[in-house]
Symmetry: C2
């Protein structure tokens, strides 16, 4: 049905969407007829507009105002009319230069990426670090904090450091711990946490019979350390830029947005949805089914290293977002970050 649009209708829809993206104001027939040389009078444009409205691609806030695209209209625009040009060599180089990844910890890289994404797009940048469970084991360390408490320090292949406090048998001595971590480090090297977990479960069952005390303790400890959920790291940059957008100019909308950005759960949930897909993904408005994010669109892409650790980055802006500008930035940044993560290993 939506594809039954003839060329003229498509052109007018595109013009309306783009005018609206630029101005954030309802677009009238006169403006379309003048600015774009379709050689059509306002009246003819109005006829087309009425058709588009009937199809649910446009709507008017009130009888005597211009039209604004509906979410369905934006969806059609993105699916059919938007041409995403690749960045040219120059722009790519500029983007590369915006990032400084030298001697940076994983956290710093993520934060930097968020900052740059937000700075370039003038919307809000989001970066979700690779999930703990998808990272590849590199090293584990145990440090006694108090009688019954150990601090576990875990380092992934890419240099991501996680730590966690676990309870442990107080009778374990320092050298016990050292032997245990040495054992685990040789045993688990190169496995993803996912794989580590299945290995642990398997071995724990077998070892119940063999009764090697060291192994048993080692596996028990690492079970405690690597089991439970470790919450996702989400970096939000430039939240205040969103408040400059006219669609979020009322106090109520500002509160809603700030709340959404503050309780990162909402965003993490949203970003998770795109984790399985490849390439750039666009979530429009109410697709998110998050009341607090009404009126927002999200452009994301996953980045990953060759070992399969997947993170997500993106930009969140108003539905009336400049997709043709932001999509290539998100796309190329994801490629860039993927490469940086692999470099950290390859140079190894």
């Amino acid at each position: 049905m939506a594809d039954g649009l003839n060329e003229r209708s498509q052109n007018i829809l595109e013009a309306i969407v783009e005018d609206y993206i630029a101005s954030a104001e309802p677009v009238g027939s006169r403006a379309i007829s003048r600015k774009h040389d379709f050689h059509l009078s306002p009246a003819s444009v109005r006829n087309v507009m009425a058709d588009l409205e009937e199809m649910g691609l446009l709507c008017s806030p009130h009888t005597s105002s211009g039209r604004i695209p509906t979410e369905k209209g934006f969806q059609y625009y993105i699916d059919t009319l938007l041409d995403v040009r690749d960045l040219n060599r120059n722009e790519k180089q500029n983007l590369r230069n915006s990032y400084r990844f030298q001697n940076m910890r994983m956290e710093d890289i993520m934060q930097e990426v968020g900052r740059v994404l937000s700075g370039l797009s003038q919307y809000t940048g989001l970066v979700m670090a690779p999930k703990f469970i998808s990272t590849v084991f590199r090293q584990i360390d145990f440090i006694r904090l108090s009688q019954g408490q150990l601090l576990m320090i875990y380092v992934s292949e890419t240099g991501l450091v996680q730590n966690k406090v676990i309870e442990a048998d107080p009778s374990l001595t320092g050298s016990d711990l050292e032997r245990i971590s040495n054992y685990l480090n040789s045993e688990l090297n190169g496995l993803s946490i996912q794989e580590v977990r299945t290995k642990l479960n398997r071995e724990l069952q077998e070892d119940r019979i063999h009764y090697d005390k060291l192994k048993k303790q080692a596996f028990n400890l690492s079970c405690a350390a690597l089991q439970g959920e470790i919450e996702d790291q989400l970096y939000v940059s430039g939240a205040s830029l969103m408040l400059e957008q006219p669609e979020f100019s009322t106090p109520e909308q500002m509160k809603r947005l700030v709340h959404a950005f503050e309780s990162k759960k909402i965003l993490i949930e949203l970003l998770d949805r795109g984790q399985s897909a490849r390439g750039v993904q666009i979530f429009i408005g109410s697709e998110s089914s998050q009341v607090d994010l009404e009126g927002c669109s999200l452009i994301t892409s996953n980045f990953s290293n060759q070992k399969g650790a997947i993170g997500t980055l993106g930009v969140i802006g108003p539905v009336r977002m400049n997709y043709s500008q932001v999509v290539p930035i998100v796309d190329f940044t994801a490629q860039l970050v993927s490469r940086v993560l692999d470099l950290e290993i390859e140079k190894n």
Copy 2:
């Protein structure tokens, strides 16, 4: 001069401040004369109000409105009229129960404290973790990330984990690194970073003569690792609660606040100012000299462990803040956190 207030003026000032704290609206003479039984007519109250206005303790937004306290008025109220009652046994227990510190990493504790502070006060909770430089050395570890890059992992006495990427001589082998970290761990144990730094500088000079290669490499590495600035950790909780306050209800003020909360620098600077003091401190409004924080007051207290690592926690709210409620919460929470940090060591 301000202390030349007679009892009646003080009573009326107190009544006005407290009414204003409760209502956020200018307070009129009639309301004061009725709600509080001073046995004074509105006209008499007005006379006193006129005096207080002349002293700069009150002001009126316009000729025919009630009075609101000026910052000076709030200052006087806090210095002279505010009686901060201690929490009773019951309230203390409740507060203790609000916190769950079991098996928590330093970061989690800080975040939890911020959340609870914000939840109890209904304003915004701030927690600044002890500065890296003030923490006490416990353990250091080096992990090779790539040819020329090492990941340094540092653990403090209290279980605070810091990591940093440093450049290093690619010829160092794994066992070199192990020996170096063993050496440093025995050598630097129990010193604060501050002390470590002076020790390193001293030894580096002496060792230039003795030419012990291991030592030299060890000190060089730890210098690179522990030197530069490590940015302060600041946890902001409940920023959106501030947006509910009527003084920040316009879009402009919301933007200002969100911006201030987002660029944590502003807040860190402010919290740093109180680091040397003991007990609860109150910064009122423009004292902060931060445009973005106009109209805000800050109640802070430091927490510390016996080894001298100092952090700061507090609540930021409108100048029209419920001081008598929030001050004891901040005070007792700081004591609580101090005790928790010491426990982590003592149990040791």
